[in-house]
Symmetry: C2
Subunit: 508 residues, 2 copies
């Protein structure tokens, strides 16, 4: 024990301290008076304004000085005693504890310095994690990556269901610590839903409920990748996936992406040279270029995975949004060898605020992922998970998808039509078969970085070109999301972009 | 491109395939008929039951065979065409694509094997992550670590607030991608609340909203610790923290814990020998032994942190539950050098299902934590965060704490009283000043593992002793949570434990 109490004081410093001016009582404050007093006395003790062995005034004296009830001072001293800041010596009084370690007297100014400017310890930083965040400004239009229109989210219906579920008599069982796999009911409903809609052959044991797709990519990366392990991605790829793999210290190898998706002959060559641990694929549709992976490539990829024993990380973020035909079934539906880790969420489909996603794989992988998630965030939100089980089972999710699909198709058509009519001099693009964004190539001699600079004048925020060129190939393309904008916003957007380009053309 | 279309077939295999018996139409299924058909045909193609170049029957023929409308077959063939499984040769018909890569014919039985039993890729497993989970059985009483009684959770009030917030006209702004730091409003409310109740001096920039305390420990560990970095914990410590540090590949060093908390002289010695990166402390109250860290030790710890430049990871999970006096202010309130990372949540106080916690530190650390959280789970749940901003600001959180504090105090008193009256022959313990559990020492010659075995006969689940002895000191103590049990449950619990001990005594 490093704390020795000294019941008999050898030396008692009796100091006349300006209590009246040093202690402040705020009767309008919610904090009880005795707590206000004790906190201030503790501060004075720590600052050595009241050094060890200082005799504190008697309770009657202090209550007179401060004009508070004596009981308040008594409660304050009891508190200090309990916390060990002072000791009480019978018939002598209350003294600042003699065995408090030496506290270097603090300069009062230094002490007031906010914690902000100080960093008392070191930690690891990763430059690649550092990403700019836009502060949204009134009147400015922002080019986005392809996000849904939250004005169409049936948030009232979902909140009503949430409340209905919360008011069930048996709900308290779901309020305590729950399964790290996610709510059982939602896992059952999802297994059934995904088997029907996506041709999977899974049971609830193959599902971990995540906090959205990114959480699924993260958990998988942590289990699949260690320093130097090879993960293969497209030669331009979804930047968040890249960053997640880098954070796991993996080595990223890139293969070409053409109009049929990732080029499998390149992957086969790579597999012969390196031990590939995982291939990340947004089969439907490739992020950022929006192409759909062809059937032939899909089979080829599955065969390579089986042959070389790597995991296919299939991020099916865009499954629900196909305008020309029914969605193409995911790789996971054709996976007879257990190579596919299938990741999806309702975040794109319903709204990003509802952090409900799924990680689907063989049971031993799911088990390990559930163990890992226990230390990452312990568990999900069972109330929200039950809400979405209801939302899916009732058919409301499907109705919502049907509704927005029509709207987004109209927006895609309008956006592409205007882009073609007003800007074909400057840009070229393919009409995307699905998803929420167009992959727009800027013709020579224009550069997106320069466009972004001029666009600001027209209250248009193009965003960073770099996020779409993680492999530094200078393809001069960016994604332009159309789904989140209504008709007027799309018209306004195209008008501002046209003004920007004309401005640049004159200047060029 | 590795896909070469061959418009002119050199060889056309015309095979009479038993379509009638191989294709099943389920009219009761929600899936459109043409999708059912296409999925089955894709499977047949993949299995090489329909090999490349096979001519498919005409749409009229197949519709006759299957007794479906011809339009259904037309839609199905269009789908297969779009997905690239078949090609259409004018005036010749529809053929299985010639350039599908060789698919090794699958044994039908092997194919039906669930993904469960197959693991087509390798991944890293950590034995220490593997923890047993109890399946709760009817009629069994479970010893817990000290959890709240969710029957007291004001879940209806919270759900009502959630719905009210969701129905605001401006809510759609909060439904899209949001700040990785958490909702701004909750950060403001929390800064104010924690400054008032815990004597902190922070602004919202010092706060990251987490998914509960464990999430805060995880994020901090990932930023503070790399392979071999030293983290110091008590010689028995909260097992989840230990596991989280091990997962970060840190080296755990242990120091003694006595009735005043972590022994600082030991820490000082350790700091002289090793570079200590972080010290994990549950200052209030030590997990698992329930002792409160003394004021003297607190100052000593802060001074050592300043001198040796390590981070103090203060997990203040028990702050709200003190029965004898006002809560002791956290280390974070005395931290003038920015060494403390302060972690807390509403999970213990309100209910574990509400995954709202906070990580508080200097702004550069918080910024890096927010960058990391972007790839871990992107962001929090703004609707729930706004709900809790309201719950805290309205004073409802404080009322709830006052209400349950009284109830838990009564339960603690009853539990300790009965434990003392009925079981003092077998156990010894100190009445805890706060928290939700008693640290119960089993006297010789009894062992908790043996007790747990016998207790099962009396429908009492003691749980694992090992979780409380992470340092293998054989202290023969476990935590017994009392807060989650009402009066009758406590009586029943003690009765069953007494029966168990008598059984063992006779047997011994």
């Amino acid at each position: 024990m490093d704390c020795i109490l000294s019941p008999e004081k050898t030396k008692l410093i009796v100091q006349m301290f300006p209590y009246k001016t040093s202690l402040f009582i705020d009767r309008s404050c919610a904090q009880p008076l005795y707590v206000q007093l004790s906190n201030q006395l503790i501060q004075l003790i720590k600052d050595q304004k009241l050094p060890p062995n200082t005799k504190l005034p008697g309770t009657r004296t202090l209550s007179d000085i401060l004009q508070v009830h004596r009981k308040t001072v008594v409660a304050c001293y009891e508190e200090l005693l309990l916390q060990g800041w002072v000791e009480s010596i019978p018939k002598k009084g209350t003294f600042v504890n003699s065995c408090l370690p030496d506290v270097t007297p603090q300069d009062y100014v230094e002490e007031k310095v906010a914690i902000d400017s100080i960093q008392g310890f070191s930690f690891y930083t990763n430059q690649f994690l550092n990403r700019k965040t836009n502060e949204l400004l009134e009147g400015v239009l922002y080019v986005n990556d392809g996000i849904s229109d939250t004005r169409l989210t049936p948030v009232n219906e979902i909140a009503r269901t949430y409340r209905r579920i919360a008011s069930r008599k048996s709900i308290f069982e779901h309020l305590s610590y729950g399964s790290t796999y996610g709510n059982e009911k939602l896992r059952e409903v999802l297994a059934n839903y995904l088997n029907t809609t996506r041709g999977l052959h899974i049971s609830k044991e193959n599902i971990l409920i995540t906090r959205g797709s990114q959480n699924g990519i993260y958990l998988s990366s942590q289990l699949l990748l260690r320093k130097g392990d090879v993960v293969v991605v497209g030669n331009t790829n979804y930047i968040s996936a890249d960053i997640t793999f880098l954070n796991a210290k993996a080595t990223i190898k890139r293969i070409d992406v053409d109009e049929c998706g990732l080029v499998m002959d390149d992957l086969e060559e790579l597999c012969k040279k390196h031990t590939v641990k995982a291939v990340y694929v947004t089969s439907h549709h490739h992020h950022p270029t929006t192409v759909t992976m062809s059937a032939e490539r899909r089979i080829h990829l599955l065969n390579l995975a089986k042959r070389f024993g790597f995991a296919i990380l299939e991020d099916d973020y865009d499954y629900d949004f196909n305008y020309n035909h029914a969605p193409i079934l995911p790789l996971a539906s054709h996976d007879t060898n257990g190579n596919v880790i299938y990741i999806g969420s309702v975040c794109k489909t319903v709204a990003p605020v509802f952090r409900i996603g799924y990680l689907i794989a063989n049971t031993s992988f799911i088990e390990e992922a559930a163990n890992l998630r226990r230390i990452v965030d312990r568990q999900g939100d069972a109330l929200l998970e039950l809400t979405f089980a209801d939302f899916i089972q009732s058919g409301d999710l499907d109705s919502h998808i049907r509704k927005v699909l029509k709207i987004y198709k109209t927006r895609r058509d309008l956006f592409c039509d205007l882009l073609s009519k007003k800007l074909s001099k400057y840009v070229e693009f393919e009409i995307p078969k699905g998803g929420m964004a167009v992959w727009v190539h800027l013709k020579e001699p224009y550069k997106w970085t320069a466009v972004a600079e001029v666009a600001k004048k027209y209250k248009l925020d193009i965003g960073e070109y770099e996020r779409y060129d993680t492999a530094n190939t200078n393809h001069n393309c960016i994604r332009m999301g159309f789904a989140s904008c209504n008709e007027n916003e799309i018209k306004e957007f195209i008008a501002r972009l046209a003004l920007t380009m004309k401005h640049l053309e004159k200047g060029a």
